[in-house]
């Protein structure tokens, strides 16, 4: 993907290996230009004139990209050059669509004789900058990703607390559109699942790296598959229970699938044993089946999913509107600003992909998915290249959960899976999601810097800034 642009501005010590920082900057600029063009198209389509928003959104994209770029240049100069441009491109494009939905909702409100007071795009800009601050903080504080191992159990507690919090809270504090995956306090609503996802990924990576030898021990051999020992099933069963709990309590298959899938995949990567995957898949299918049989809410959700047009006016309304939008968009779409994506309830957060599908068509939507694929593949490339086990596990976990979330959301809006309250990373409206994903981006960039840094180069300022770091050698435990 990257071109042969070679950085001349990089330091003297790394002449042999290009840092590709200028490539990154170039792509960031291109992303900002595309975002500006997209906003211009929206405004010309709707009002036949261009407003200052065109410059605003392009500038926001550029500012976030450039500030992050400078921080990367300073503290992680060997980092992957494509992750940041992909992320800021998606954030910018999300801003354009959120603003476009604001316009649509305002029009809809005026058609129905009301007014729409939403300024979602403006608050998303604020959240994007908060996300940038989080990005910078993580990048500056975590100078070596291996330090995270030390806080594995603390992070696990935080993650579990955040994950289970909405399920424990009364519905009025936690339920939005039937899915209990929120914490709503004093006018603020955060989706803690996004943050807990990162915490639990770090924990799972650290835990499994330390326990991988034990977990790899074979128990009995059945049908040509080495089964693990019964006593090692504990952590998997715990993860399973939590996932099924989330499914039953929160009515959210997406979150449940994401967490359990993440844990099983990390278990597999740590132990290289297919048997764990088979056990995990069977457990999950069994758990889903039991939930379906015994919990009416789960059954109802599945019924709405299977027979969405029978619930056209109530529970299936959002889903069917999304399908209508995607179908009306067809191959090439209605053009940015030319469709009616605001007909889908909460399009800007859960269903923003169907808004893009309606206005940019199949081609545009697949192009956006391709940007995600680049981002995810850079993550997996990093996990292959990084030398320490924890780093490999961490990045695999983050890239996989990021991809799985995209799968759950994109599959949800197109009825491949039951709909879920998950947001589309970087693209969707929502502060907690955006902030969490900027944190995830910072970690990915941190690890990718470690992966690409020449082995001969001493780990630059790391030791001086954050003290001695316990170096975990692959398989040392």
């Amino acid at each position: 993907m990257s071109t042969a642009v070679r950085s001349r501005s990089a330091g003297r010590s790394d002449r042999r290996l290009p840092t590709r920082r200028s490539t990154e900057l170039l792509y960031v600029v291109m992303a900002a230009i595309i975002v500006g063009c997209a906003e211009a198209i929206v405004e010309i389509t709707r009002d036949n004139k261009v407003s200052s928003h065109v410059a605003t959104y392009a500038a926001v994209t550029l500012a976030i990209g450039v500030i992050a770029h400078i921080a990367i240049r300073r503290t992680a100069r060997y980092a992957d050059p494509l992750m940041l441009p992909c992320a800021v491109f998606l954030v910018g494009l999300g801003l354009v669509m959120i603003h476009r939905l604001d316009l649509g909702l305002a029009q809809q409100a005026s058609e129905q004789g009301g007014t729409y007071a939403g300024v979602a795009a403006a608050s998303q800009v604020v959240w994007a900058f908060i996300g940038l601050v989080v990005f910078l903080t993580v990048l500056l504080v975590v100078r070596d990703h291996r330090v995270l191992q030390r806080y594995a159990y603390t992070l696990a507690l935080i993650g579990l607390f955040l994950l289970l919090m909405p399920a424990v809270l009364p519905a009025r504090f936690s339920e939005v559109n039937g899915a209990r995956i929120w914490i709503r306090v004093a006018g603020f609503s955060i989706q803690p699942g996004e943050i807990s996802k990162i915490c639990l990924t770090i924990f799972a990576a650290a835990y499994l790296v330390s326990k991988r030898d034990v977990l790899s021990l074979a128990g009995r051999r059945v049908l040509g598959v080495d089964l693990p020992r019964g006593r090692d099933l504990g952590p998997l069963l715990l993860a399973w229970l939590v996932s099924i709990g989330v499914l039953v309590r929160d009515h959210d298959l997406g979150t449940s699938l994401m967490f359990f899938g993440l844990f099983v995949v990390l278990l597999y990567v740590a132990t290289e044993r297919v048997s764990w995957v088979i056990i995990g898949v069977l457990l999950f299918i069994g758990g889903c089946y039991i939930s379906y049989q015994f919990f009416g809410t789960v059954k109802e959700r599945v019924n709405v999913w299977l027979h969405v047009f029978a619930y056209l006016q109530d529970q299936g309304y959002q889903m069917s509107q999304s399908l209508f939008g995607l179908g009306t968009g067809g191959l090439f779409g209605a053009g940015l600003g030319g469709g009616r994506p605001e007909l889908v309830p909460v399009a800007k957060s859960d269903f923003i992909l169907s808004s893009f599908g309606e206005e940019l068509g199949l081609f545009g939507l697949v192009a956006i998915l391709a940007v995600y694929v680049i981002f995810i593949s850079r993550g997996f490339a990093t996990s292959l290249a990084v030398r320490d086990s924890f780093g490999k596990m961490l990045v695999t976990g983050m890239a996989f959960s990021f991809g799985l979330q995209l799968f759950v959301v994109a599959g949800g809006v197109s009825r491949l899976l039951p709909e879920t309250g998950l947001t589309t990373p970087f693209l969707s409206y929502g502060g907690s999601s955006l902030v969490a994903n900027f944190g995830l981006l910072a970690l990915l960039i941190r690890v990718s810097d470690a992966a690409r840094r020449p082995p001969t180069t001493p780990p630059s300022e790391v030791t001086t800034d954050s003290g001695p770091v316990p170096i975990t050698v692959d398989g040392a435990q």
Partner: protein
């Protein structure tokens, strides 16, 4: 560790590939079906941005539906001048509940999406003019329509009038009616409220009685049986019946295979209580005579004759949908006897009632009924023009003349005297049709429907009309059907004949 990571990468790729394949299905393969789904407002919302064409009356040019520019975001508001009066013709055009009537049947022209308007759309695109929809000109006559609506008043029922020579529908009234303006407004709440109110009304104002509702025709069906009799030939090729032929007309007829007695209205006696002429039997609407005549002619003859008049079980469109009229299964002789007086399972639409009169009026040539005389582009250029076509040759002109004379007798000195117009010969037939649930003794709980089907002037017919007033008669009294429905028909005919200068 790298081998499982590679496998996970491949797995991730498969998941996302599944999403892309599914999107191909949703957006491309199944996309058009989602786009055209009736619950998908997107296409309709786009059409609101385009000025929808007019619906206007052919004679007077009166605009009965037009789109006027508004300041709100939907750009154009559909307005129906005299909404309830013309509702059975225009239908409604609602943001939430779809369309009906001409709005639905002629939607491609009105919305401008018709293929014939393609060049126009391209031209507009280049010249930068806002695209507009085409116009639809309907055959409705303002005077006939207004007279019919006023004459019906608050009563439930329908009036349909047509030009027997062309088949053009001159009036189509359904009462009580609804106001399509309320359903086509831009207020979501207002639309939903109006829709709920119209649907909750036990009088069913949104039911298009003129075209979409069928009723037992009662004695109006005797015109069909008479036509079948007049066409019947003896072995030597001569007609088996003339209006003067004497046919059995007993006081009470035991239906074959049952103990049920079929009597005349109020147990009256037709003529001498043994036989009556065909002409007189129709004039006074003698039930036993026609029940016996139908049994003599046979099921085939009745069914075939009814089919020629258009009573053939099939839906049609004018282009507003018209429900199919039927004579029912007629399983045995008893059913045949009851069907021959328009009861049992015989059901016809008010339009079909007008077609019966029109076929007789036009010398036996039944013209295909139509509502749209012309479709125009936005530039008023004609897209299509309806030429009258013959639906069926129902009978020859001699038989039609005989039947006309019999129907004139009905109005001159029979059950239909209330339809008389001074100075103009009127022909017609009344009906008092039992309907709905029966009591244990066979009597009906609801009052019978009142019918009149006729035409004028009898010597040069210009208008054929059918009137039905639901439960407008009095049980057991044939004259009541005529008394209720015939005056409405009279006013419609008179208003129309005045408007075209026939004195």
């Amino acid at each position: 560790m790298n081998r499982p990571i590679r496998r996970v990468t491949i797995f991730m790729g498969i998941l996302l590939l599944a999403v892309v394949i599914n999107l191909n299905w949703v957006q491309v393969v199944h996309g058009p079906a989602y786009r055209d789904n009736a619950a998908n407002q997107r296409v309709q919302l786009d059409e609101y941005k385009r000025q929808r064409g007019l619906i206007a009356l052919s004679g007077s040019g009166t605009q009965i539906a037009e789109s006027v520019a508004t300041t709100d975001a939907l750009a154009y508001l559909r307005k129906y001048a005299n909404g309830p009066l013309y509702a059975p013709i225009t239908g409604f055009n609602s943001l939430y509940y779809g369309q009906s009537g001409i709005e639905s049947a002629e939607d491609p022209v009105l919305s401008g999406s018709d293929d014939r308007l393609f060049v126009q759309r391209i031209t507009n695109l280049i010249t930068g003019r806002d695209p507009r929809g085409g116009n639809v000109i309907v055959t409705i006559n303002k005077q006939a329509q207004t007279a019919a609506y006023q004459a019906m008043g608050n009563r439930r029922g329908a009036v349909v009038a047509m030009d027997p020579k062309t088949g053009a529908i001159l009036a189509a009234v359904s009462t009580p009616s609804f106001d399509p303006n309320a359903l086509s407004s831009h207020s979501a709440e207002g639309i939903k409220k109006a829709w709920a109110a119209d649907n909750a009304d036990p009088d069913q104002p949104m039911l298009n009685r003129a075209f979409d509702q069928t009723y037992p025709p009662g004695s109006v069906f005797k015109v069909v049986v008479s036509a079948a009799a007049l066409k019947k030939t003896k072995a030597d090729g001569k007609p088996a019946y003339t209006p003067a032929s004497r046919i059995p007309a007993v006081n009470s007829l035991t239906l074959p295979g049952t103990t049920t007695q079929l009597r005349n209205f109020d147990g009256e006696q037709c003529a001498d209580g043994k036989t009556d002429t065909l002409d007189h039997a129709l004039t006074i609407s003698c039930n036993t005579a026609f029940a016996q005549l139908g049994m003599t002619l046979g099921t085939e003859a009745i069914r075939d004759e009814a089919a020629l008049f258009g009573i053939d079980d099939s839906d049609s469109s004018v282009p507003v949908r018209v429900a199919g009229s039927t004579v029912g299964p007629i399983q045995d002789q008893a059913a045949l006897a009851q069907s021959s007086i328009g009861q049992r399972d015989v059901r016809i639409t008010p339009l079909q009632g007008a077609m019966i009169a029109a076929a007789v009026a036009n010398g036996g040539d039944l013209m295909t009924p139509y509502l749209v005389s012309e479709e125009q582009g936005p530039n008023l250029a004609t897209l299509s023009h309806t030429d009258p076509t013959q639906l069926h040759q129902v009978m020859d002109s001699g038989q039609a003349a005989e039947l006309t004379q019999m129907m004139e007798d009905v109005v001159n000195n029979g059950t239909g005297t209330a339809a008389q117009i001074p100075g103009i010969k009127v022909a017609g037939k009344t009906g008092t049709a039992d309907n709905g649930p029966q009591r244990a003794d066979g009597s009906y709980i609801n009052a019978p429907h009142a019918w009149f089907s006729g035409f004028a002037p009898a010597d040069n017919p210009r208008i054929a009309v059918a009137v039905i007033i639901e439960n407008g008669g009095v049980a057991g009294n044939e004259t009541t059907g005529g008394l209720a429905a015939a005056p409405v028909a009279k006013q419609v005919m008179q208003a129309y004949l005045d408007s075209i200068g026939v004195k």
